[in-house]
């Protein structure tokens, strides 16, 4: 069937994209001077040794004396076998550091994504069904507020309000509480709320405007003439076609926030997740870790785009796979 073939092709394409990214990274790394080698040379000179010899030893140690294609294959192998090297600044393997960061990032990212996916379309369709009512206006105002206010700033304000003045939630993030515990829920409530506010606005707007179009479609009149109740008509006949354009917005919105804002939110709320890990690796000039984190973000983006395309084609029966 056309759909299966399309999905396979799309997955292959995603793999090609990731390969291109990895290759580009390799080229950049190979072209740039390696600070470790400079350092070895300086070190040797200071200690009265032969800088030239030290450079060679260092190159040999790092495998830089091999021909380029061998180094490229080695690089590829290590990337795809998840041997991403040693993080000097964290004193642990890069993958281990990343998994640790991911563990904390996931704790707020999963609830935030789920809430956005569930609430956004529902509120949007509800708004369309009650267009220009006060509820619709309230939802619109909220959407624009979330859209306009910078996430990190909103986070700081909320932290001040609820953490410092009202003292309702802990200001310092604790890593020693259980994942499924009230304490954890309390300390994650604000970051989740901030991110939902940021991502849900666009989702609400798109679902409202798209479903407003379907609400007035002739097939809604057909549904009514068949005896379909208004609730069922919205739940099936409006929601379903709205999901097609919405899937694109949803994924791109979630990705944009994940890649753009989670770092800031983690810094504000002191969550030791991927974002803060990347930030600290950058400050500490921990090349391996920066590289690893970049790969994680890149792969999330590639997979997100893949899911977006697949969702769109699965959802819209009119798409012809041959033209794409």
């Amino acid at each position: 069937m056309g759909l299966a073939r399309y999905v396979v092709l799309r997955v292959v394409w995603a793999a090609v994209v990731s390969l291109v990214i990895v290759t580009a990274t390799f080229v950049l790394m190979a072209a740039a001077p390696n600070p470790a080698i400079q350092e070895a040379a300086t070190q040797a000179a200071l200690e009265g040794g032969d800088p030239q010899q030290a450079v060679e030893r260092e190159r040999e140690l790092r495998g830089l004396d091999e021909p380029l294609h061998v180094r490229y294959l080695d690089f590829l192998t290590s990337i795809y076998t998840l041997e991403w090297g040693w993080s000097d600044h964290r004193s642990q393997p890069v993958t281990e550091a990343l998994v640790e960061g991911l563990y904390y990032t996931a704790q707020y990212s999963i609830p935030w994504t789920v809430l956005t996916v569930l609430i956004g379309p529902l509120v949007g369709v509800y708004s369309a069904a009650n267009m220009y009512s006060w509820r619709d206006h309230a939802a619109t105002a909220f959407a624009f507020f979330g859209y306009a206010i910078p996430n990190f700033f909103f986070g700081i304000v909320l932290l001040l309000l609820f953490g410092v003045w009202l003292d309702w939630i802990p200001v310092v993030y604790r890593t020693d509480v259980a994942v499924f515990s009230l304490e954890n829920a309390r300390q994650l409530a604000l970051p989740v709320f901030v991110l939902v506010t940021g991502s849900i606005g666009a989702v609400m707007r798109v679902s409202r405007n798209e479903s407003a179009e379907f609400r007035d479609a002739t097939f809604m009149k057909t549904a009514k003439a068949k005896g379909v109740s208004p609730f069922r008509a919205y739940a099936y006949h409006v929601m379903r076609p709205t999901l097609v354009p919405l899937s694109t917005t949803l994924v791109s919105q979630l990705l944009a926030i994940f890649l753009g804002s989670s770092l800031l939110v983690e810094v504000v709320f002191g969550i030791p997740g991927l974002g803060r890990l990347t930030f600290e690796a950058l400050v500490a000039q921990d090349t391996n870790l920066v590289l690893g984190a970049t790969f994680v973000f890149t792969f999330v983006a590639v997979i997100g785009n893949l899911l977006e395309d697949i969702a769109f084609s699965v959802l819209d029966p009119r798409i012809s796979y041959d033209d794409r």
Binding site: A217, T218, F219, K221, T222, A223, K224, A225, K226, G227, V228, S229, Y236, H237, R240, P241, V244, L315, D316, P317, R318
Partner: protein, 356 residues
């Protein structure tokens, strides 16, 4: 007929609140449909035909719409029915087929799903039974290999096939009244004829009353038992198909017939002038601004009282009132080539290629 007709609409008035003011789409019209007959609502677009039929089961959105009058259907007054009660009547007893099958089906669901939905809303049947019935219906309305097409999406059907699907969906719960709103207008001529023939067959088979809306008098001549001519929300003339085609009495009906190929001198490009502004209908006869026989009295008061010319044939024109001379209207257009409305059908629809 002495007993109550299937549908009797009395003094139906439907208005809409718009920014430009109150729009009177349908203004106090009466008509009725008996079981097993086809009644055609005829008029130019904007004459209120669609609004009138969509007022029957209140498909009109209220507000901005507002419906008044009596709609007696199978002994009940639908005007008094609450929404849940109406929902049970919609689809189950009164079914609709709309003008544009392209938009009338939801593009995200298979046709089988959409037909089964209509069945399962009104009857307590399982998925597989609803599906089996949907296949049977698709076959009945002339879709070849219905078992293979049931899981196809609307975009995989041609325009004519989509309209067949709509008809199958309308028939799925065995309605007593089928409202067909310009069901063939969006289709090719050959497909049009096939759909008309199908509807006529099904009317007999299911014993339904059919309320058929069209602006096309050629279609009317093929299917109508009775005709209601609407103009700007008012009934101008109504009567049996024979009355209206053989003794068209209202100047508007005569002009409509004059536009039909094969009848009278061809008046180029339809009737001159446009429909009056529905937010500000003229005094007197609605047709007066475009009527070549209008006299001063036509611009005063309300729409002229309807005069019964023969039993069931009523005309709303002042020239049939006492004290006026109907001969000023001249002779009705002669009917060339439309000797018998029904006899024409076979030559027109016979031997058409299948749509698709």
């Amino acid at each position: 007929m002495t007993d109550e007709p299937l549908l009797r609409v009395e003094d139906l008035t439907t208005t809409f609140e718009t920014d430009a003011g109150r729009l009177v789409a349908v203004d106090g019209i009466d008509f009725s449909v008996e079981a097993g007959e086809t009644v055609c609502l005829v008029g130019e677009s904007g004459s209120g035909k669609t609004v009138a039929t969509e007022s029957i089961t209140r498909l009109i959105k209220e507000p901005p719409g507002h419906i008044e009058g009596t709609v007696r259907f199978e002994g009940r007054d639908l005007a008094d029915c609450a929404e849940p009660e109406l929902r049970e009547i919609r689809g189950a007893d009164v079914a609709h087929v709309f003008q544009n099958p392209q938009d009338a089906l939801n593009h995200c669901y298979t046709v089988g799903w959409q037909i089964a939905e209509a069945i399962r809303i009104h009857e307590d049947v399982g998925r597989s039974e609803a599906r089996a019935r949907a296949i049977e219906l698709l076959g009945r309305v002339g879709i070849a290999t219905p078992g293979a097409r049931i899981d196809d999406y609307p975009h995989q059907f041609s325009g004519g096939e989509k309209q067949r699907v709509m008809i199958a969906m309308a028939l799925s719960t065995n309605p007593d009244l089928l409202v067909a709103d310009e069901p063939t207008t969006a289709l090719d001529v050959t497909v049009q004829a096939q759909i008309l023939r199908l509807l006529d067959e099904l009317k007999t088979e299911y014993g339904m009353g059919v309320l058929f809306i069209t602006h096309d008098l050629g279609v009317v001549s093929e299917i109508a038992d009775r005709i209601v001519v609407l103009y700007a929300g008012k009934v101008m003339e109504r009567g049996s198909a024979a009355d209206v085609f053989e003794r068209p009495s209202h100047p508007y009906t005569r002009q409509l017939l004059g536009c039909l190929p094969g009848i009278g001198p061809p008046s180029a490009g339809g009737i001159p002038g446009t429909l009056p502004d529905p937010t500000d209908p003229p005094e007197g006869c609605r047709f007066a601004p475009r009527c070549e026989h209008a006299v001063e009295a036509c611009f005063e008061g309300g729409q002229p009282e309807a005069v019964e010319r023969s039993p069931g044939h009523r005309v709303s024109c002042i020239h049939y009132h006492d004290g006026y001379d109907e001969s000023v209207l001249g002779e009705p257009p002669t009917r060339l080539g439309l000797a018998d409305p029904k006899a024409e059908e076979d030559t027109r629809t016979g031997g058409d290629a299948d749509d698709g």
